[in-house]
């Protein structure tokens, strides 16, 4: 019996054939090859530089020379709590982030609900388009457009005048904290722009979460005697929590770190992002900039833990 009858039609093994067999026999090798490039990228360029940045928050700056002192310590981080203006910046940014997140959730929920339960086929596609359309244009363009809309002689103001609601606008603007000389130079205006800009990031996760709620759970609830409002509070809302949590992580962290919008619209008064930007750039106080960038990381981590306790990730 010769070789050709015992192994019919099997071509001679070459390099590629051997490599394929090796990968087939050792699946982990394939995984390593697949993941090594992205992990290297993430590890070196992202995590590496992030850790380096965080390390800087333990350094401090010499008040006289303006040079960085490479001695590890907590003096820079302590400034976040000891200097009242720094505390103000953190509270201001945090309050804005919370307000924007709540507003986004409240506005996004009905839209996501409609898209998940009522919109079908073509209507649904149009709604997706409407939600995503703003993301196609530059964020800067939209923010500057809002400045014009909210300006003293802008569209919003004209609108109030036309409807004869000027006193209402003036009343709102005369309120403490959120008011100001005009919408474009008040925290209210900034809040509106933030809410507008991040809204799609809240709608889509909520819509996706509601889409995944089996329709027969709603029928089962109704079957067991629950009125629509009870079904909403007991079944639909709890099952949408993961979506709201995912969306809120977007809106919350995006607001926490943004440095453009507070500079273009709103009252004077720094936000975390702006501080980081100016401290590391114009001022050259890299340790303080690093210390400020630790704040969102800590807050987001705390927030994620809070959301996890709510059970937002149970469905994952």
């Amino acid at each position: 019996m010769n070789q050709s009858t015992s192994q019919p039609n099997l071509p001679r093994p070459n390099f590629w054939r051997r490599a394929s067999s090796l990968l087939y026999e050792k699946p982990w090798l394939g995984l390593v090859l697949l993941l090594a490039p992205p992990l290297l990228w993430l590890g070196v360029f992202y995590l590496g530089s992030l850790l380096n940045l965080l390390f800087y928050s333990f350094y401090s700056i010499d008040d006289f020379s303006g040079q960085i002192k490479y001695d590890l310590g907590f003096s820079t981080l302590a400034q976040l709590f000891t200097s009242s203006s720094n505390v103000d910046i953190v509270t201001r940014t945090l309050s804005m982030s919370i307000a924007v997140t709540i507003a986004c959730a409240v506005i996004a929920f009905p839209i996501g609900y409609f898209m998940a339960f009522y919109a079908k086929g073509r209507t649904k596609a149009i709604w997706y388009l409407l939600v995503l359309l703003p993301l196609w244009s530059s964020y800067l363009v939209r923010v500057y457009a809002w400045r014009l809309i909210l300006a003293r002689e802008g569209v919003a103001s004209w609108f109030f005048d036309t409807l004869g609601l000027r006193p209402v606008l003036d009343g709102i603007l005369s309120l403490p904290v959120i008011g100001g000389p005009s919408l474009s130079s008040s925290y209210l205006g900034m809040f509106l722009v933030f809410t507008y800009v991040w809204l799609p990031y809240m709608i889509l996760p909520i819509q996706a979460a509601l889409e995944r709620v089996p329709k027969n759970l709603i029928q089962a609830s109704s079957d067991l005697g629950a009125r629509p409002a009870q079904t909403f509070w007991r079944i639909i809302l709890p099952l949408a929590v993961p979506g709201v949590a995912a969306g809120s992580i977007f809106t919350f962290s995006l607001t926490l770190g943004d440095y453009i919008i507070p500079g273009v619209v709103g009252a004077p008064g720094f936000f975390i992002g702006q501080v980081v930007y100016t401290q590391q750039g114009a001022v050259g106080n890299l340790p303080l900039a690093a210390a400020f960038s630790v704040v969102p990381i800590v807050i987001i981590t705390g927030y994620l833990m809070f959301v996890k306790r709510l059970g937002a990730f149970n469905a994952l």
């Binding site: 027969n216 029928q219 089962a220 079957d223 067991l224 005697g225 629950a226 009125r227 079944i235």
Partner: protein, 339 residues
């Protein structure tokens, strides 16, 4: 007598663009209190839509649904004294088993302590005592099924709808649950309306069965009626298995079809035949033999038609040989002419 459920000229048409589907086509039906009633049919026959109409999950296009003499045609599900066991159970994933079972009590404002007591009691009834604080995801298919049952029964509905509740269970578990369901129904005295595509399930559990086909009730009767006296070819073939043989072949009324149950047909090798009164016989050629364990199935070609015989013993016949088929003369059932 007051009926638990009455359907009068019930229609349900689904429209999608220019396409119309008459899911339920002029159905009339009355179900007595305490009855175990099955809606049997293949998928797409309208049996599930019919159940969903009774539950209130679909709106009838026309017709009347009466529950205990009250017109419920337009009532939402939460206003009907009907509870449902859904096909895939529809347990609330974010609630414990106890909260699932107690849900109907909670939405009615029953106190927490009372809810816990009654839920645990109900869980005992379905043999799931001690499982109250688990989540549905921690249960097996059979256990989820019991939770769904407990949840639907806790409010003591007068009518329980079951939409293919055993479909997802394996054979052994399904047979156990059939017995348990039947026992539970007797014990509680509730009207059960049971949707299934499994004819043996319908036959073994039900007091009466409605066989659905193309949105219409093809035949309605006790399991024995349906099996012994199928009116149409569809019922004869769907309920159990049947030989549908032309009148010409059987030397009966021509141009008509007859149903003959395979187990009524005896088989013997051609030579050993001695005709007797009350017995009909035909000769044919044996095509195939299938050994099924407790039974043997024979495929015989008689006058160009295939006839199946099932016997409990094994006859000494050879494939290709000539055989004689015998059956009681009154066994073939004349079938209605189909439109």
């Amino acid at each position: 007598m007051q009926n638990a459920v009455e359907l009068h000229n019930l229609n349900c048409t689904f429209t999608s663009g220019s396409f119309q589907l008459r899911a339920v086509d002029n159905v009339n039906l009355s179900i007595a209190p305490g009855e175990f009633f099955s809606l049997l049919g293949p998928s797409g026959s309208g049996k599930t839509t019919c159940l969903r109409l009774i539950g209130g999950f679909e709106q009838p296009t026309s017709g009347v649904i009466k529950l205990f003499d009250t017109d419920a045609s337009r009532l939402p599900p939460f206003e009907r004294e009907v509870n449902t066991v859904f096909q895939d159970y529809a347990l609330f994933p974010h609630m414990t088993v106890r909260d699932n079972v107690g849900y109907a009590l909670m939405v009615r404002g029953v106190s927490r302590a009372e809810r816990v007591r009654r839920s645990d009691e109900m869980l005992e009834t379905v043999k799931l005592g001690g499982y109250g604080s688990r989540k549905p995801s921690q249960l097996s298919g059979g256990q989820r099924q019991r939770v769904a049952l407990a949840r639907a029964l806790i409010n003591k509905p007068r009518i329980l709808l079951l939409d293919e509740p055993l479909g997802a269970l394996d054979l052994k578990l399904r047979e156990e649950m059939q017995i348990e369901l039947k026992g539970l129904q007797r014990q509680l005295g509730i009207t059960f309306i049971f949707v299934t595509h499994d004819q043996s399930e319908a036959l073994s559990m039900s007091d009466r069965v409605a066989v659905f086909n193309h949105g219409r009730i093809e035949q309605l009767g006790t399991p024995r009626d349906l099996y012994d006296a199928p009116r149409t070819e569809f019922v004869a073939r769907f309920v159990g298995s049947a030989n549908v043989i032309s009148g010409e072949t059987l030397h009966l009324e021509s141009k008509r079809q007859y149903a003959l149950r395979p187990e009524k047909v005896g088989i013997s090798s051609a030579s050993s035949t001695s005709p007797s009164s009350g017995i009909s016989s035909l000769t044919g050629q044996l095509q195939d033999i299938h050994f099924l364990g407790s039974q043997t199935r024979y495929e015989v070609l008689v006058g160009g038609e295939r006839v199946t015989a099932i016997t409990s013993g094994a006859e000494s016949c050879e494939i290709g040989s000539s055989v004689t088929l015998t059956w009681p003369a009154d066994a073939p059932r004349l079938l209605e002419v189909q439109m």
